[in-house]
Amino acid sequence: MESNESADKTVLFEVLRYNPDKDKSPVMQQYKVPLQKGITVLDGLVWIKENLDASLSWRSSCRMGVCGSCGMFINGLPRLACNNQIVHINPEKITVKPLPNFDIIRDLVPDLEGFFQKHRSVKPYLIRKEIDELDHPTGEFFQSPEELVNYIQFAYCIKCGLCLSACPTVATDERYTGPQALAQALRYNSDSRDEGAKEREAAVYSGSGVWRCHFAGACSQVCPKGVDPAMAIQLLKKDIVLKKLRLRKYQHGTGVLPKTEEWKENPKIPKAPAPTV
């Protein structure tokens, strides 16, 4: 952002500062930032770092709400700093803290290690019974547009962690798997190519899984990509109830799409490398 010292209007930034190696407790530090049209909270933080305080730390990357790095607690709500304009929040005062429900690494940088561990615990990838096709693919697994709609919403998750920071259950029970990982379990369970629902059950339906959700709905409210993890959790509950009552069967993944007569190999597309395992 271009520095604008002569700007008439300024916005007061109140930013939480904390270095666990040096500080006993976090403190709030104030900065005045020139207010320009279209300036986002992330732009404001960059301006502070460039002009006022180079030691201010946060995590960000894409600046366009895609990478999910810049999740922060801004004016009382978990939001992405890059896709929230100051004028839309409060042109007078912006309070920025690190995401709640996570340890602080430094200033506005949350420790997301536990978050990604939970994500991994639900095996967020396609699981197939026949390993041969995965190791030596002969084509692509079939999926109709209708089948895509079943899970596409949940595939928009950018792993920003806002849902976990908004969740009241995560706040009180750190063992809770959390809305992000559970929504991803549904995303893969709902994928017509997947056969791993049973393998995910241990993580999804444990004592710390879906049954811990109180359906506060805060996760869905704060999601910057419009994903609805609260609904995903309810759908996971419904799924297991139907399976237990033998009203729904475990899914068999779709087969490989047969090659048509007109099919020709495109020489411009490089061949897949040999399997490593």
Binding site: T172, R175, E201, Y205, S206, W211, K244, L245
Partner: protein
């Protein structure tokens, strides 16, 4: 997966309570509504009426079912609330055992009372 079965039973017990508690409320306390509907009950909470009712097999069975459903629903709910305090694993295990044993003892005692009254000829 065990947790899923317990949770489904929890919901099922809630439904059983809804039906049986509904019957209980109508028979014991909402007799005015029954009277308005043309099925009056005489002195529903009178000691002799209560005793006579308890000596009917259908009521004895509903009492035992309601007791079992209420104990399971309540104690499983209590277990969940206590577990949200993120107790140490050993304490969680002990709590679960304690609640299970308490539930079974209360159920056995309540069933004994219901069967005893059912078998009693006179008060």
């Amino acid at each position: 997966m065990r947790e899923s079965s317990l949770w489904i039973w929890h919901i099922f017990a809630g439904l059983v309570i809804l039906v049986l508690l509904g019957i209980h409320m109508f028979v014991m306390h909402l007799d005015a509504i029954l009277a308005a509907l043309g099925a009056p009950l005489e002195n529903p909470i009178d000691a002799t009426t209560v005793f006579e009712r308890s000596r009917q097999a259908v009521f004895m069975i509903t009492y035992i079912l309601l007791l079992g459903a209420a104990l399971y629903h309540g104690l499983y709910g209590l277990k969940n609330i206590l577990f949200e305090l993120t107790l140490p694993k050993a304490l969680e295990k002990a709590t679960a055992w304690l609640l299970t044993v308490a539930g079974l003892l209360l159920f056995a005692y309540g069933t004994y009372v219901a069967v005893f009254v059912f078998m009693t000829k006179e008060i």
